[in-house]
Symmetry: C2
Subunit: 351 residues, 2 copies
């Protein structure tokens, strides 16, 4: 059984939920997947580059009380990954939609240090996909990002593993739960500001909620989906993006009363030239739409494939634990790939 | 590139749709997955055990005009698999819910002949799962059955590949499209018999439609899902099964008008003793239910996981091509597993 040294870069809500879930699933990971782990690095803007070469105790991780145990103390991401002897880097720093920095640099450093990289940061996917995939391939490591777009809703692994040789023609999606919650609050007679506050309470907003409200979050997600699943090479600025600030509150309420509520809808479709076009804007959802009837923070994507008119995947009421699970699933899949290779090489030697 | 000898056992609607899809996706399978194929065997009750050791031409397969080219002609499944030098057996014979025969025997023969076995026959899964999995493991072949339960809706591969270490607590599902179509026809003022005729027209009924109407089809599916996804060991006779014949037509129409239409709902949940209990019966669907608002032949499953309250997968308007795609995806996944093993062994040798 291999013991993986895990490094958590970002130790906010998601990073801490991941630590709790790792502890909770420890026995199952050992028993079912032959995977043991210890967290040897925790870093955030607030904490600095903390490292414990022997691993932090479960209680420390759950309480979020981790201290520096490395001498000398690492001064940057590379020193930190080295001191922690990282096998897996979990990148969960906040989104910076326009450049993806510093998440792209973190992921690059992780792969260059020989670690698998699992990120929940969609900025890294949109701004670093080609480079990071190539680097991962060259180092025989995994670069995985299942939780970047729709929490634990399996999307990338679904297409990679479950839908080989199916061609994705287009999709529509609800990818931003903050705006859905705001719409619901408006429909209940509350103000825009009360809606934002409600989403904050639920812990689902980006660090800067204007990224949600102005459609940046959804635009980065639709860009990542189109580029990965359709092989497009869309740039963020090519996506038509309309936020929800300008919407008339009365129109929002009337639309909901008429059974066709507004939601921030993401769309993408293949174009004749082999790329894709995409948009993020408020649109009304008809009652028979695959994306209808979804409560507040639910996420859903409806895929149109050449072999199936409509394949819809929906996550109802995802929470921090769900997002953390998306990261955990990527970790298990990286470990499985590594283990499968080792087993098969071993079998071959035994022949 | 490996050329796979494919054998189609069952050459009805699904088998022929598979042949067409294989032809259509030929270039993609070669280019993207390094997989070439030829169909060297086609068998059905009507045709007998047909074999063409050099492979049938695409035009013959598409037209469904295949002739015996082996001398001597094979007389049973084992002779047929041998003469066709089968690498993959596609089993698509009609369902026999109570015993799973002869599908189980076919699958056993395929694995014993050294072929991967891909089946759309849920009877084989329910009645042969343990034995066939063990046999596949011993022979290092794959036993896959993605299209057995919900056409091309990824379910088994979803849990296997995308949801590691997630615990399935319960699920509800619409698994039988024939009864959904019948309900819709009743709601439109038509008779039960007209409903059955409509489902027949759509090509979605079992060979014997009473298997749909009396809940056998759904019961076999829910049994397969619970046993594979929850590790249960339910027997078919342990599933509470109520068909739709006894339903009062007026009650069906009134329920639909009230926005809570009847559908044949499948349910399963874990029990304290580590197994599961399951039912198939007509139930009313509330408007905010994850399974609400699905047109006729759509299929959907709503999973409750320990890491996510509701994960719903829905296939809208699946057709024969969709079912055939489920078989094709299993074939690609079997070939990928084989190829990955070969590549990794090769890399190891090159070191």
């Amino acid at each position: 059984m291999k013991t993986y040294n895990l490094c958590l870069l970002g130790f906010g809500n998601v990073g801490r939920a991941l630590a709790r879930l790792l502890v909770e699933k420890s026995d199952e990971l050992r028993g079912e997947f032959g995977v043991a782990w210890r967290v040897t690095g925790v870093a955030s803007r607030r904490l600095g580059w903390l490292c414990a070469p022997g691993g932090y105790a479960a209680a420390e991780l759950i309480a979020g009380k981790v201290a520096q145990r490395a001498t000398p103390a690492p001064r940057d991401v590379r020193e930190w990954l080295g001191a922690a002897r990282a096998d897996v880097l979990f990148e969960t720093t906040p989104l910076e939609p326009l450049t993806g920095r510093p998440a792209v640099e973190h992921c690059r450093a992780g792969l260059e240090a020989g670690a698998h990289v699992v990120t929940a940061n969609k900025g890294a996917v949109v701004h670093g996909l080609g480079e990071l995939r190539q680097l991962a391939g060259a180092r025989k490591r995994q670069f995985l990002f299942e939780s970047a777009v729709a929490d634990c809703l399996p999307v990338f692994s679904l297409f990679r593993e479950c839908l080989p040789a199916a061609r994705l023609l287009s999709f529509t999606a609800l990818l931003n739960s903050t705006t859905s919650v705001i719409f619901e609050e408006l429909e209940r007679g509350r103000t825009f500001e009360e809606g934002v506050a409600r989403a904050r309470e639920l812990g689902i907003t980006e660090t800067d909620p204007s990224y949600d409200v102005d459609g940046w979050d959804a635009a980065v997600k639709v860009c990542a989906l189109a580029n990965v699943l359709m092989g497009a090479s869309l740039k963020l600025e090519e996506i038509e993006r309309v936020g929800i600030r300008e919407l008339d509150v009365r129109a929002v309420r009337e639309a909901a009363e008429a059974g066709r509520p507004f939601r921030l809808l993401s769309r993408a479709e293949r174009t004749a030239d082999g790329s894709a076009k995409a948009s993020v804007k408020p649109e009304q959802i008809a009652p028979d739409d695959p994306l209808a009837n979804l409560a507040g923070s639910s996420l859903a994507i409806n895929f149109k494939l050449d072999v199936l008119e409509g394949l819809t995947v929906t996550a109802r009421e995802p929470n921090l634990r769900s997002t953390a699970y998306g990261l955990l699933a990527d970790f298990v899949n990286a470990a499985r790939a590594e283990r499968r290779a080792a087993e098969q090489a071993g079998e071959r030697e035994g022949q």
